[in-house]
C-alpha cells in the first residue's frame, strides 16, 4: 500500500477505495450532512424541487438554526420555520432549537454527533472545525447539501495536504487561536487554497480539545478545504463519554506525501491580533496596543467554549470594563451557558458590566445582538474581519483570543493580558 495522510485514508475509506491520490475525483459516503437557518432553506427547496421525498438517513441529516436565532425578524422566522417543518416531516433526530440550540460547530462535537474518522459535510464554511476530532470535515454550499441529503454521497477532489509542525511550549496567554492566526498571517487567506491543513507536533499534543477546535475552525480562513489533527489520548477522553456512534482513529503514515511542511517554534509566538480587513493582517498584540475599541465580543464557533469563557472570567474577576465600551459574551451552547453559570462566571461577567447573550452566531456575521455603527471598532474572538462583517461598511473588526479580548474590554483599547493581571 502506498503511504497516505490521515485525510487521504478517511476519504479512501468513505469512497470504498483502497487508496486515493491528491487531484483524484471521488464519490464518497457522508456520515453527517449539516445545514443552518441561512443555508438549509435553499437546500430544502432544491430537495423538493427535484421531487425528493425522503432524506437518505434521518439520523445523519442535521439542522441547526443558529445564525439569526432567536429569530431576529419576520424573514428570519420564516427561514427557521422551513427548517422546523422539514425536521418534523422527515423525523430528523438531530434538530435543535430554543433552549437546545447552540452554535453548530460547538454543539455537534459536544453532543457526540460528529466523531473521529467521520466524513462530514456542512453548508457552512466553518464545518472544517470537526477536523479537531480527527474527522474529514468540509464546508460546501446549499446545493451540495441537498444532493447529500438525498443520496448520502457527494463528489470530492482529493486535496493535497500541507503539514504544520508546532514544536516547543506555548507562551503564557497563547492558545490555538494564536497558532492559526500566526499561520494565516504567514501564508495568507489563500495560502492553503483547495488543500488540507494537518496540524501536528509536541505543542499540538499538549493542546486542549477546545483549543484544537478553534484552530481547525479557522482553516477556511487560509482557503483550506479542511483542517485536521490526528486523534490521540485527549481526543479519546473527549469523545468516549459523548460519541453517539462507534468511531475510528486514523493517522498519517510517516512517509505520507505533503505539498509543503512548515515548522514553528512556539516559544516565539505571542498572542496575535488580526487587523482589518483580512484575517491575514496579523500583528503581535504588543504592536497594536494604542487602538481604541468600542465593542468586545467573546463567543462564536471559534472561541465560545468553556476554556474561552474560563480565561475571560479569570481576567475579568473583580474588574470593570471601560466606560463607553460594550462587552458581549456569548456562550456557544446551552451546556456551556449552564456550566459558566454554575461556576459563578456569570457573576463575574455581570459585575464587570458585560452583556450575556443566549447561544447564537449573532454579531459574528453582522446578524444581530451587537451590530456596529459607522466608524465603530470591535475586537472579537470570532473568525472574520472582512469589510462590514459586523455591521456598517465603515466599521472595523479586530480578531484575537479571549484573554486579549477580556484585557481589551477592561482597558478600552487593545491590551495584552499581562497589563491587567499580576
Amino acid at each position: 500500500m502506498k503511504p497516505m495522510t490521515i485525510t487521504e485514508k478517511i476519504l479512501a475509506r468513505h469512497a470504498g477505495a483502497k487508496e486515493v491520490t491528491p487531484g483524484e475525483l471521488i464519490n464518497a459516503k457522508v456520515d453527517i450532512a449539516l445545514g443552518n437557518d441561512i443555508t438549509a432553506p435553499i437546500a430544502i427547496s432544491e430537495f423538493k424541487r427535484i421531487g425528493a421525498k425522503k432524506v437518505f438517513n434521518r439520523n445523519k441529516v442535521v439542522l441547526v438554526p443558529d445564525h439569526f436565532t432567536p429569530n431576529k425578524d419576520i424573514k428570519s422566522a420564516e427561514q427557521c420555520k422551513v427548517l422546523r417543518e422539514f425536521a418534523r416531516e422527515q423525523k430528523l433526530t438531530h434538530y435543535y432549537e430554543g433552549g437546545e440550540v447552540g452554535v453548530e460547530h460547538a454543539l455537534l462535537p459536544e453532543r457526540g454527533v460528529v466523531v473521529p474518522g467521520d466524513l462530514v459535510i456542512g453548508a457552512d464554511s466553518h464545518t472544517c472545525t470537526y477536523g479537531a476530532l480527527g474527522a474529514f470535515s468540509t464546508g460546501v454550499g446549499s446545493t451540495d447539501l441537498a444532493a447529500a441529503m438525498i443520496t448520502g454521497e457527494l463528489w470530492f477532489k482529493v486535496p493535497e495536504s500541507m503539514k504544520f509542525v508546532f514544536n516547543g511550549r506555548l507562551r503564557k496567554w497563547v492558545s490555538g487561536k494564536d497558532l492559526i492566526l500566526h499561520i494565516i498571517g504567514e501564508i495568507g487567506v489563500d495560502g492553503a487554497l483547495y488543500r488540507a491543513m494537518e496540524f501536528t507536533g509536541r505543542a499540538i499534543d499538549n493542546l486542549s480539545m477546545d483549543s484544537r477546535l478553534s484552530m481547525c475552525n479557522m482553516a477556511i480562513e487560509a482557503g483550506a478545504k479542511s483542517g485536521i489533527i490526528a486523534p490521540d489520548a485527549a481526543t479519546k477522553a473527549y469523545v468516549t463519554k459523548r460519541a453517539e456512534r462507534p468511531f475510528k482513529f486514523y493517522a498519517s503514515d510517516e512517509d505520507a506525501v505533503y505539498s509543503e511542511i512548515r515548522e514553528y517554534d512556539c516559544s516565539q509566538i505571542e498572542p496575535k491580533v488580526a487587523c482589518p480587513h483580512l484575517p491575514e493582517n496579523t500583528k503581535n498584540v504588543s504592536e497594536v496596543k494604542n487602538i481604541s475599541i468600542d465593542q468586545v465580543v467573546i463567543g462564536s464557533c471559534t472561541n465560545g467554549r468553556l476554556e474561552d469563557l474560563e480565561i475571560a472570567a479569570k481576567i475579568l474577576r473583580g474588574k470593570k470594563i471601560a466606560k463607553y465600551l460594550r462587552l458581549i459574551i456569548i456562550p456557544a451552547t446551552p451546556f456551556i451557558y449552564n456550566e459558566a453559570m454554575k461556576k459563578g462566571w456569570f457573576d463575574i461577567f455581570l459585575k464587570a458590566g458585560a452583556i450575556i447573550s443566549p447561544p447564537t452566531c449573532g454579531p459574528c456575521l453582522g446578524g444581530h445582538m451587537g451590530i456596529l455603527a459607522a466608524g465603530e471598532r470591535a475586537l472579537a474572538t470570532t473568525n472574520r474581519n472582512f469589510v462590514g462583517r459586523m455591521g456598517d461598511v465603515k466599521s472595523e473588526v479586530y480578531l484575537a483570543n479571549p484573554a486579549v479580548a477580556a484585557a481589551t474590554a477592561i482597558k478600552g483599547r487593545i491590551a495584552h493580558p499581562d497589563e491587567v493581571t499580576k
Binding site: 424541487r49 427535484i50 446545493t143 451540495d144 443520496t151 482557503g223 469589510v387 462590514g388
Partner: protein
C-alpha cells in the same frame, strides 16, 4: 455558450460578505439578493449592472462563507460570467452546482479594466477583450465539471442518475 458584455473590475480576496452582506441573508429570493449584489464592494453595482456584463477579479474571488446566496445574487443580477485569477473553493463548487459560469485566467484579469467590452466563449475558454484587442485562453474546465454543466447542474445530474 457565448457572452458579450461590459467588464466590472474588482481586486483580490473579494469575500462573500462583500458579494452579498449577511444582513440580507434573511431571504434566499434571487431577485431580493440581486438588489444588494456587490453592495459592500461597489454600492452602485446593483443599479448599474446590465444583463450580460462580466465580473473580472484578481485572486481568491468568493472567499469566506459557504453562502450560495453569493453566486445566486451574481447570476440574478444579470452577470453572465465571472473571470478571476483564482476562486475560493466553496464558491467554485457552488458556481458549478447552481450554474453560474466562471473561468480562471490570470492574464485576462491583469489586463482588463472596468468598462472594457469582453467576449467569452465558455465551450473553448476563449476570452476576448474587444476594447483592447487582446485574446486570452482560460484554464480548461475539468471534464467532470463540464459533465456537471452539461447535465444542467448537480441536482439535474442526480435526477438523471435516478437517485430521486
Amino acid at each position: 455558450m457565448k457572452f458579450n458584455g461590459k467588464a466590472w473590475k474588482f481586486g483580490a480576496d473579494i469575500d462573500t460578505d462583500r458579494i452579498i452582506p449577511a444582513r440580507y441573508l434573511n431571504t434566499s429570493d434571487p431577485k431580493e439578493l440581486a438588489k444588494h449584489c456587490m453592495e459592500d464592494a461597489d454600492p452602485t453595482f446593483a443599479s448599474r449592472v446590465q444583463a450580460g456584463d462580466v465580473i473580472v477579479a484578481d485572486k481568491n474571488f468568493g472567499c469566506g462563507s459557504s453562502r450560495e446566496h453569493a453566486p445566486i445574487a451574481i447570476k440574478a443580477s444579470g452577470v453572465a460570467c465571472v473571470i478571476a485569477k483564482s476562486f475560493a473553493r466553496i464558491f467554485y463548487r457552488n458556481s458549478f452546482n447552481m450554474g453560474l459560469p466562471i473561468l480562471e485566467c490570470e492574464e485576462a484579469a491583469d489586463s482588463t479594466e472596468s468598462g472594457d467590452v469582453i467576449e467569452v466563449d465558455m465551450s473553448t475558454g476563449e476570452i476576448v477583450n474587444v476594447t483592447k484587442g487582446k485574446r486570452f485562453k482560460a484554464r480548461p474546465i475539468p471534464p467532470f465539471m463540464q459533465e456537471l454543466i452539461a447535465a444542467g447542474g448537480l441536482m439535474e445530474s442526480i435526477r438523471k442518475k435516478g437517485a430521486v
